[in-house]
């Protein structure tokens, strides 16, 4: 694999709200290498989007507050720059791009797609208006939008959800970002469009030698694409490893639960799907012990009295897990 592109160490972010401190991102560490595709997987509300927006420094502060950690991009700590700094601004869109969960509302309704695309290109490249427009057309073509020239003059409301998500992808590739963060890029779309958009994103990433972080709650979806997976639960990572290791040999009961709730394509007879029982906890006033404890079929006394189990190496290839009773021993 290539060089380390992004390295996040012990990142912590909380929202300070009237009802208390929401520990949305609680001490997470991960990394992405050049041309690598990784996935961050977890149930709704576990902090996936917030963690990625923290990396981009797009969280409103207040109520959000970064409580620690570092975000090393090509060795430089982005957090040192501050959210409103010019340095951070030049990284957004040109080095790291983010595609959001909500294609329907993520484009400005009163400007044409071309206006919005051109603006981004002109922020990051020294080109004339005309050249920027042409680059915009090229970007739309690269995401396989037919009639790119006329589409440039369209307003977002004249496009379908899938088309808008393609526009957002075009925005992230228009300035040759090295890293694309795709936050559930397809959840809002219908199933056929989902597959098309995902395939498009993957082929673009391969072609442009870009690294990709896919954020999703659907473990089944990413096993086809991601090289490594991080499993997130209640603001923390609970397991990480290569996709291969993680699906054949899940160590954390939560990962195992996620896997058994995914329909398997192979296998002679259709296995019964077992959703994980119970609900994820509120991120306010989390207990000192493992947050998964109330839903965990493997829980022991140690889990209830011990502190939160730290991430530790449990297998080859840096397979890590935060659990006292990892499945299969250790």
């Amino acid at each position: 694999m290539g060089n380390r592109l992004l390295e996040v160490n012990n990142l912590k972010l909380s929202f300070f709200t009237v009802s208390g401190e929401v520990k949305a991102v609680d001490d997470i560490s991960y990394h992405v290498d050049e041309q690598e595709v990784i996935a961050i997987v977890g149930e709704s509300g576990c902090g996936k989007s917030v963690s990625q927006m923290t990396v981009m420094q797009l969280i409103q502060m207040p109520p959000g507050k970064i409580l620690g950690g570092e975000v090393l991009y090509k060795g430089k700590d982005l957090l040192k720059y501050g959210p409103r700094s010019n340095e951070m601004r030049m990284i957004r869109g040109a080095e790291i791009s983010m595609i959001f969960q909500e294609p329907m509302t993520s484009l400005n309704p009163v400007f044409t797609v071309g206006d919005q695309l051109r603006e981004i290109i002109m922020v990051h490249k020294k080109v004339s208006k005309k050249e920027a427009w042409d680059l915009g057309i090229q970007a739309l073509k690269s995401v396989e939008i037919p009639d790119a020239e006329t589409r440039m003059k369209n307003y977002p409301f004249e496009m379908s959800g899938g088309m808008r998500q393609r526009v957002l992808i075009a925005m992230s590739v228009a300035c040759d970002s090295k890293l694309i963060i795709a936050d559930e890029p397809t959840t809002a779309l219908d199933v056929t469009t989902q597959a098309q958009v995902t395939d498009l994103l993957m082929s673009l990433v391969k072609k442009m030698k870009t690294s990709l972080v896919i954020v999703t709650h659907n473990l089944g979806l990413v096993t086809r694409y991601a090289e490594r997976i991080y499993v997130m639960y209640a603001g923390k990572f609970v397991e990480s490893g290569t996709t291969e290791d993680l699906i054949t040999n899940p160590k954390h009961p939560y990962t195992a639960g996620l896997l058994s709730s995914v329909p398997k394509i192979t296998g002679e007879k259709q296995e019964k799907l077992k959703p994980i029982e119970g609900f994820p906890p509120s991120l306010i006033d989390l207990p000192p012990h493992c947050a998964f404890l109330p839903r965990c079929p493997y829980a022991t006394d140690e889990c209830a009295y011990g502190p939160y189990p730290p991430m530790r190496i449990v297998g080859d290839n840096n397979h890590m897990c935060a659990c006292y009773n990892c499945i299969g021993g250790q």
Binding site: M56, L58, R84, R89, M90, I91, R92, G93, A94, S97, M98, F100, E102, T105, S106, L107, N108, P109, V110, F111, Q116, E119, I120, V123, H124, Y155, F157, E158, L168, M171, S172
Partner: protein
């Protein structure tokens, strides 16, 4: 867009119609006999009766209404009972005076209000937002006549900078106009700033919280450009309707301000007409004001449709 405009025009016509019916009914419920008032208390009962017939007051209401509308459609706004001359002439004389106070007030208040609103939204929660919001709230809660009286007290009676009251047309003597109109214009402007500023602040805050603003940020667009271009256009669309509303505020405000500053405009005219039961003047004056207000709303609605591509481009 075509159908959108057509619909607005239709609604406007209906509104004006309803206003005329309403005013007509209201006036005819007022106590006092216009014929008697017209002729004076010494006039004989026979003369009054004759006058009633001449004024069509003996006919049923719907006939009276029809006769009024018939006149209006023939360009005849009737004669004032009070002034004993054509209403149209009176209007021609008075409208420029009200406009000469209202338009400068509008021109002063709108940019200030927009800037206040935007500053508040960008600096939300900071001291400057709190300060401006305090004044805006104060402005919204303070009646315009009270502001006017306070202004007269401070600037005219105490500092002796400006006259207490009076009016000179800018066409007659521009310097005198400036001298006399400054206080009423400023009072009117103060009265108008609060509403627009508060709405701008609200819309701007709402816009800055939208997902697409996050997208602009996520792609490195500068904060300045986001507020001044991408957010502002979204926020201004609803503000345009508020501007239309300001025309109504001017008319309402002129009723009071013209009284306080003794300006012989439409506001004073309407008050005089009501006090003297000059029903022909009242109903035509209200008709004129209503038509004008509705016309402004119509223009604003069309403008709104034009700024918002979602309406402009909808084929139906």
């Amino acid at each position: 867009m075509g159908q959108y405009i057509l619909k607005r025009i239709l609604i406007s016509i209906i509104v004006v119609f309803l206003v005329t019916v309403f005013v007509f009914a209201l006036i005819h419920m007022l106590p006092g006999d216009p014929a008697r008032l017209y002729l004076g208390f010494e006039a004989s009962e026979a003369d009054v009766q004759e006058m009633r017939v001449k004024m069509n007051l003996d006919k049923p209401w719907h006939v009276q209404y029809y006769l009024w509308m018939n006149d209006v459609f023939h360009g005849d706004l009737g004669d004032s009972l009070l002034y004993r001359r054509p209403n149209l002439d009176i209007f021609k004389e008075r409208i420029p005076r009200t406009v000469s106070i209202g338009i400068p007030a509008l021109l002063i208040s709108v940019p200030i209000a927009l800037i206040f609103g935007i500053i508040c939204a960008i600096k939300r929660g900071k001291w400057i937002d709190n300060l401006l919001t305090f004044f805006i709230t104060l402005g919204m809660g303070t009646p315009v006549f009270w502001v006017s009286i306070l202004a007269i007290y401070i600037f005219a009676m105490w500092l002796k900078l400006l006259p207490i009251q009076g009016y000179v047309s800018p066409a007659d003597n521009f310097n005198q106009y400036l001298y006399k109109a400054t206080l009423p214009v400023l009072c009117m402007a103060t009265h108008m700033i609060a509403g627009v500023a508060r709405n701008t602040r609200t819309y701007m805050l709402e816009t800055l919280n939208q997902d697409y603003i996050r997208t602009h940020r996520a792609f490195g667009i500068s904060e300045r450009k986001i507020t001044a271009k991408y957010a502002l256009k979204n926020a201004l669309i609803p503000v345009v309707t508020v501007l239309g509303f300001q025309v109504r505020v001017i008319i309402g405000g002129s009723l009071l301000i013209e009284q306080v500053f003794n300006i012989p405009g439409l506001g004073t005219l309407l008050v005089l007409a009501v006090n003297n039961r000059d029903y022909i003047l009242i109903q035509n004056c209200v008709l004129m004001i209503a038509s004008f207000t509705v016309l402004v709303s119509l223009i604003v609605d069309i403008l709104y449709g034009y700024i918002d591509p979602r309406i402009r481009l909808s084929r139906r």
